[in-house]
Amino acid sequence: MRSLTRRAWLLTPLLVLGLCATCPAAAGTASVMVGSKPFTEGVILGEVVRALIAESGQPVMHQAGLGGTRILWGALLAGEIDVYPEYSGTLTREVLTGQQVETTARLGEVLAGLGLRMSAPLGFRNTYAIAVPEGLGGRLRLRRVSDLRDQPQLRFGFSNEFMDREDGWPGLRERYRLAQQDVRGLDHDLAYRGLAAGQIDATDVYTTDAEIVHYGLRVLTDDLGWFPDYQAILLYRADLEQRAPKVVERLRRLEGTIDEPTMAALNARVKLQGETEQQAAAGFLRERLGLAARAQPTGLWQSLRDRTLEHLGLVTVSLTAAILVAVPLGIAAARWSRLGALVLGLVGILQTIPSLALLVFLIPVLGIGWPPAVVALFLYSLLPIVRNTHAGLLGIPLPLRESAEVLGLNRGAQLRLVELPLAATSILAGIKTAAVINVGTATLAALIGAGGYGQPILTGIRLDDTALIMQGAIPAALLALLMQALFNWAERGMVPRGLRPRSAAAAPPAG
C-alpha cells in the first residue's frame, strides 16, 4: 500500500512538469492572429500576410494550416484569429448557403452583419477546373468540359471534397450531363500521381496548382460556366479597423498584386522547388512590394523541441484529467450497475465520434488551438480507463470482496485497501491503452493550431515530403513507447508482489 502511494507521488511532479512545459499562451501576446487553410497556397498567403504585418513592427502570429474552411470560419467569428485568406466562391457557395448571396455588394452586407470585412480581390482566381493529361487530351481532342460527354469510357478520380460538394462533381455531372461510370474519390495529391501513372484519365484541379505545368496537364474550359468565381480575398474581423488600423491598411496593399501566374509560381517554389512557405512569401514581398522581408529558418532541433513540448503538454494534461475523472467514473459504474451501463454507453459513443468532427464541434465553444485539442484528447482517453476500472473491480472474486466487508471495513476503506489494489493491474492497463491512443490522436491537434508532432506530419503530407512526415511520426512513436515504459515502471511499484504471477511459482512446498 505504502509503495503504491509513493510511486503515485513520484508521478505527480512528472505530470506537473508536463503541464508547465505546455502553457502555449505564454508564447507571446500577439495582438494580431493570422490563420490559413491546410494547403500550400493557403499557408503561403497566410505567411505573406504575417510577414507584411510583422514588417510594420506589429506583433503577429500565424496559425498555419488549420483544419479547413469550417474551422477557420468558426475561429474568425469567435475572434480566435483576426484574418485569413479565403475565396469568394467558398463563402457564397459553402459558408453562407441559404442566404442568397448573388452580388459582391450583398456579400459585403452579409459579412458586415457578422462583424466581418473582406478585402478587394488579391488578383487571382483559384477555381475548380477539370484537367486531363496533355497526350490524352490531344488524342481525344478534348478542349472544353462539354467534350467529355462523348467519352463515357473515361475514368475520373476526384478529390474527396470535390466528390461531396454541391458545386463539385454532382452539380457538374448534371450541368454537363456527363455519363461516366468509373468515378472515384481520392486525395487531391494522389490524384496527380494517378494521372501520371495512367490509372485515371481526369481529375479536378485548382487553377493555380503548380502541378498543372509540372505534370503537363491540359485544363478544360468550363464552357457552360458551372464553376463559381473563386476570387482570392482576405477575410478579416471588422474590429481590426479600430484595434489596428495600420494592419488593415497593410492588408489592403495586397489587393490586386497577385495574379494567377504569380500564385502558381509561388506554389511551385514550395511544392516543386522545396522552399518553405516563409521563404516563398518573403521572396514575393521583396520582389513585388519591395519590402525587406526575410524568412527566419528554425533549426531542426529547435522545432523538434517545440513540437515535443507541445505534444507532451497536450498528452499529459488530457491524460491526467482523464485519469482523475475516469477512475472515479469506473468505480461508480462498478458500484451501481444501471449507472454503469449508462456511463459505459456514453463514453463508448464518444469514442465513435470521428476526431475531426469532434474538434469542429468544440470550436464554437472553446475556439481553436489548445483548449479544444485537450478536451478532445481527454474525451478519447476516458473509455479505456473507465472500462478497465469497471472490469477490474467487477473481476475481483466475490469471497475477497465479502471478506473485506465482513472484516468491518467501511465502504471507503474496502475500496482503498482492497478493491483498488486488486484492480490496479487492470486499471493501469487501461491507462496505458489510453496513453498510446492519446499520443497518436494528439497528432490531429495540429489541424486546429495546437501544434505537436502533427504539424510536421500534416505539412509533410501536404508537401509530399517523407522526411518531414518522419520528423513527426518517429518522435510520436518514441513518445508512445516512452509512455508505455513509464507506466510499466509505475506498475511495478503499484502492483504488489503478491499479485504478480512470478510469486506463485516461488511458493514453498505445502506444509
Binding site: 500500500m1 469471497p399 475477497l400 465479502e402 471478506s403 473485506a404 466487508e405 465482513v406 472484516l407 468491518g408 471495513l409 467501511n410 476503506a413 485497501l417 482492497v418 489494489p421 486488486l422 490496479a424 502492483v495 504488489p496 508482489r497 503478491g498 499479485l499 510469486s503 506463485a504 516461488a506 511458493a507 514453498p508 512446498p509 505445502a510 506444509g511
Partner: protein, 252 residues
C-alpha cells in the same frame, strides 16, 4: 449470543430458509450440518450481514442486526471461509492487522497481538512477511484464523474452514482449532458437510435439509436418537470406509 428468529429467505422464488428459529449459545460451538443446498451457509452469511432475511431477524447479543449496527457488530465477529479469503496483495502480517490499523491501533500493539496469535495458531513468525500465494494451504487457514481473531471477537463464524485442505493437514488443524476454541471460550458457529468434523467440534449439532432444521442436539442425540429417517440416512452415508468392511454392514 446469536439467535435466528423466524427467518425466511428465498433466492429467485426458491426457498433457501423456511421459518428458521435457532439459538447459538455463548461460549459454545454450534455446528451447522447438512447436504449441499440445505441452507447452512445461508445462515452463516445472514449472521455476517452479507445478506438480509426476507422475513424474521438475526439477533446478535439481543439486538436485531440492521444497517445501523452492522459495522459495529462485524468488528466483534471473526469470519473465515473455505479458501481463507486472505487478500493476495497483502502480506500475512498486513492481512491480519488490516482492520486494527484502520482502527488506529498503535504499531507496537498490533505487532504484539500479531505475535501472540502466531503462537496460538502455530504459524512460523518467518512467514508473516510472505504473501498468501507464497505459503501453503494449511498455513493460509492459520493466517485466516489469526485475522479473524485479531480484534478478539466474541463470535467466530467459520464456513467450511478446512474444506479445501488435504486429509492429513485437516486432521492436524482440527485438533488445534478445537484446542484454541476451548482455550478462548469463544462462541463459534461452524458450517461443514462432514459429520465426523461436526461430531468432533460440536457441542451442539444442527442438521438442516432444504431450508429447515430437522434435528438439533448433541452428537449422541443425532447418532442414537435420529428424529427423522433423513437423519439416519445422512448419518449412515457418512460412516467411514472401515465400517463397510465389517460383517453385518447395512444395518445400524
Amino acid at each position: 449470543m446469536l439467535r435466528y428468529h423466524a427467518i425466511n429467505k428465498s433466492y429467485d422464488g426458491a426457498k433457501a430458509l423456511d421459518r428458521i428459529d435457532l439459538d447459538c449459545p455463548a461460549a459454545r460451538t454450534t455446528v451447522l450440518i447438512g447436504p449441499s443446498g440445505c441452507g447452512k451457509s445461508t445462515l452463516l452469511r445472514l449472521a455476517a450481514g452479507l445478506i438480509r432475511p426476507d422475513a424474521g431477524e438475526v439477533r446478535f447479543e439481543g439486538a436485531a442486526l440492521g444497517p445501523d449496527n452492522l459495522r459495529a457488530a462485524r468488528l466483534r465477529m471473526g469470519y473465515v471461509i473455505q479458501e481463507g479469503g486472505l487478500f493476495p496483495h497483502l502480506t500475512v502480517r498486513a492481512n491480519v492487522t488490516l482492520v486494527a490499523r484502520e482502527l488506529g491501533w498503535p504499531r507496537a500493539r498490533c505487532e504484539a497481538r500479531l505475535l501472540e496469535l502466531a503462537t496460538l495458531a502455530r504459524l512460523p513468525v518467518g512467514l508473516l512477511g510472505r504473501y498468501p500465494l507464497e505459503i501453503s494451504g494449511g498455513q493460509r487457514q492459520r493466517a485466516a484464523l489469526m485475522r479473524a481473531l485479531m480484534l478478539d471477537p466474541d463470535l467466530l463464524l467459520l464456513d467450511e474452514p478446512l474444506g479445501s485442505l488435504d486429509p492429513m493437514i485437516r486432521v492436524e488443524l482440527q485438533e488445534e482449532l478445537k484446542t484454541i476454541f476451548e482455550r478462548l471460550g469463544k462462541t463459534v458457529v461452524l458450517v461443514t458437510h462432514d459429520l465426523g468434523e461436526a461430531v468432533f467440534f460440536g457441542h451442539r449439532l444442527v442438521l438442516l435439509r432444504a431450508g429447515r432444521v430437522l434435528q438439533q442436539g448433541s452428537a449422541a442425540d443425532l447418532l442414537e436418537r435420529p428424529a427423522d429417517p433423513f437423519v439416519s440416512a445422512f448419518v449412515r452415508a457418512q460412516r467411514g470406509p472401515q465400517w463397510r468392511l465389517e460383517p453385518g454392514a447395512g444395518t445400524i
